[in-house]
Every structure is written in structure tokens, then in C-alpha cells.
């Protein structure tokens, strides 16, 4: 009886260890996707000055000089940035980066494919209706993803879906599947 109980406990322990390590490996990737985007910390750096103030219950952060924003594998680099979040709830609203140009890169999924983009400004936010993480490139926008290479006045890109739901022309480029 004791031998069976011991054997059972060993099997249970082994199962727990295996499932834990498998789960950690499965969820270890910090690539932005729809299910875990809000759990990945959003970070920023700037060499210059940061100014914070409150306007209409929105906390506004102005960053100067070599600004970098990153969340997981998403990296946006520019000259200046504005980050906004809601004062009562503390929730992040959006980040806007300006540059000459602004550079955007992100690894997509686990297959190490990458998306690159440039534009005069980039907005990063969650779409209100769907909650999808959204990268909106405005002004001389150009993006290269696994499925498309396109230049437009404005490009809206959903990294979790590798999808361009909307653009504002004039546009030039190719879509591929």
C-alpha cells in the first residue's frame, strides 16, 4: 500500500514538474499577442527631459531626445514622444512618437518573422472596439511585414494578426499571401 502511494506521489510530482516547465516554455515568449498584451510591461527611455502634467484628468508625459518605447519585442524609436494615461484608473491610453523618421520593429509569433516600419509619427494604443494592440504610422508611412510591403500616407497595423485593416492614400506597394 505504502509503495503504491509513494509511486503515485512520484508520478503526480513528475507530472506537475513537467506541466510547469512546459507551460513556462509555452508562455515564455514575450511576443505581443492579443491574449497577453496587457500583461507585458510597457517601457520607455529618453536621454533628455521628461515633463509630466495633468490635462482633463489625463496624465501627459512629454519625452525629449532619443526616445525608445518597447513592449516585448515591439520597439519604437524616435526623437520625441507623448505618453498618455488616465488619472482616475491609471490605465494606459496611448503613446505617440515623433521623429525623422520614427522606426518601428517587432518580432511576430514564434517563427522569428519580423515587421519593420517607418513614418513621421507612430501611435501605439489598444483599439476601443476589439482591444487589439494597434500601431498607426502617419506621414510618409512605410511598412514591411511577412505578407506585405506598402507605403501610404497613413497605415494602421495590427501586430497580433499581422493585418493592415486600413490605410490612407496615396499608397504604393504589394500584398502577398
Amino acid at each position: 500500500m505504502n509503495n503504491k502511494a509513494t509511486k503515485y506521489c512520484k508520478l503526480l510530482l513528475a507530472g506537475l514538474v513537467f506541466s510547469t516547465s512546459f507551460g513556462q516554455r509555452f508562455y515564455a515568449q514575450d511576443t505581443l499577442n492579443e491574449s497577453n498584451a496587457s500583461e507585458i510591461p510597457f517601457e520607455w527611455e529618453a536621454e533628455g527631459q521628461l515633463t509630466m502634467n495633468i490635462v482633463n484628468n489625463i496624465r501627459i508625459l512629454n519625452l525629449q531626445d532619443n526616445v525608445v518605447l518597447f513592449q516585448g519585442t515591439l520597439v519604437i524609436k524616435g526623437d520625441t514622444a507623448i505618453i498618455e494615461y488616465d488619472v482616475p484608473t491609471g490605465e494606459f491610453i496611448k503613446a505617440t512618437v515623433f521623429g525623422s523618421p520614427v522606426n518601428y520593429t517587432q518580432q511576430l509569433g514564434s517563427n522569428e518573422s519580423q515587421v519593420n516600419g517607418t513614418s513621421d509619427s507612430i501611435e501605439f494604443y489598444s483599439a476601443e472596439s476589439t482591444g487589439d494592440q494597434t500601431v498607426e504610422l502617419s506621414g510618409n508611412a512605410h511598412i514591411e511585414s511577412p505578407d506585405s510591403t506598402i507605403s501610404c500616407a497613413v497605415i494602421v497595423y495590427l501586430p497580433s494578426l499581422d493585418l493592415i485593416p486600413s490605410t490612407t492614400g496615396p499608397c504604393a506597394g504589394t500584398f502577398s499571401q
Binding site: 527611455e45 533628455g48 515633463t51
Partner: protein, 198 residues
């Protein structure tokens, strides 16, 4: 006879030299005594300090508590374990604590206007904290902080950290206007936003 005279003259010369050397060393010892007495020259020492400052309208401007206080002159006071509480419209807004502090008074306090002109330089584990109208707590941490209780401006050239519920930021140098809720970090800014999931 001649030998005795020579010996006597030698003795007199030796005594004269010794006297001259002894008199030259006396001023130094008196100077050292003066220096030692200057370092202990304070006007008053107190413990359990609890000061309340009012503005021109009679509202509390700020309060200052300290474990102990040494007043060296009319312009300089050192305090241990200070706690400064700032008020706006009679309501407490920010608390600031530190290991030590120095209260600088501007000129002599001859008029009512000059009475309120003072700054407090805090050093050692300085923390300023506040809770806003929505219950969000903000903590500012640094090693040296200059507090102007009248303008409610905090400033430092040292590394500083700001922490609120979801955001933590750091930088070198800060200017914070507590009345307008505007904060400036001068350079090398880093920040992280992380919402804790339940």
C-alpha cells in the same frame, strides 16, 4: 674671571632665545582654542519640534516636525528626522520625510513677508508621498531634496524615482511644482508601466 664672564653671557643669551621662542608659540595655542570654541557656538538645542506655519490668510501653509533641532544662527537651523506636511487650502497634500535637514532663513525676519521666506534642504533617504483624489499614491524618492514650502516646489539635482500604482519612473534631477501637479525630470529618463493582473 674671564671664563666666568663668558659663561654668564652664554647663559643670558640662552635664556633670551628661549623666551623669544616661548612667546612666539603662545598666539598659536590661543588661535586653536578660538577655533575649538567656534564649532560649539550654537544658539539653541531643542527636541520634539512641532512647528506650524500659516499663510497671510490664516490657513495652515505647512507643518514641520523633527526629532531634534540645533539653531546655529538666525539664518541656519539643522534638524534630525524631519517630517514636513504641506497644505493647500487648509488640506494636507504632501508629506516629506528624511534623515536630516537644514532650514535656511532668508535675511532677518523683520517683516511678515520675510518671515515666510525659508527653504529646507533635506538629505538622506528623502521621500515625498501623496494620495490623490482617486486614492492613487505617489512616492518620490531621492537622496537630496530642496523644499520651498511657500511655493510648494521640490527640486533636486540627484537621481530620483517616482512611483505610482502602475508606473515607475527614474531620472537625474527633478523640479516638481506641487500646486500645478507638474513634474520635470531633467535627463536620462526611464519608465515602466505595468498593470498588475488579479
Amino acid at each position: 674671571m674671564q671664563k666666568v664672564a663668558t659663561f654668564a653671557i652664554s647663559i643670558l643669551i640662552a635664556i633670551g632665545l628661549f623666551s623669544a621662542l616661548a612667546s612666539r608659540s603662545e598666539p598659536e595655542s590661543s588661535t586653536t582654542d578660538l577655533a575649538a570654541s567656534d564649532s560649539l557656538n550654537y544658539e539653541s538645542y531643542s527636541e520634539g519640534i512641532n512647528t506650524v506655519r500659516f499663510d497671510a490668510n490664516g490657513n495652515i501653509n505647512y507643518t514641520l516636525r523633527a526629532q531634534s533641532q540645533i539653531q546655529y544662527s538666525a539664518q541656519l537651523t539643522e534638524i534630525e528626522k524631519p517630517l514636513i506636511r504641506l497644505f493647500q487650502d487648509g488640506n494636507p497634500t504632501w508629506n516629506v520625510v528624511a534623515d536630516t535637514g537644514t532650514v535656511n532663513h532668508f535675511e532677518s525676519e523683520l517683516t511678515e513677508a520675510q518671515v515666510t521666506n525659508r527653504t529646507i534642504e533635506l538629505s538622506g533617504n528623502v521621500e515625498a508621498y501623496s494620495v490623490d483624489d482617486y486614492g492613487n499614491r505617489t512616492v518620490v524618492s531621492t537622496e537630496i531634496l530642496l523644499v520651498d514650502p511657500n511655493t510648494e516646489i521640490l527640486s533636486t539635482e540627484s537621481p530620483v524615482k517616482l512611483k505610482s500604482e502602475f508606473i515607475e519612473q527614474s531620472g537625474i534631477g527633478m523640479l516638481a511644482d506641487l500646486k500645478t501637479d507638474e513634474v520635470i525630470l531633467h535627463r536620462e529618463v526611464r519608465g515602466i508601466y505595468e498593470q498588475q493582473s488579479n
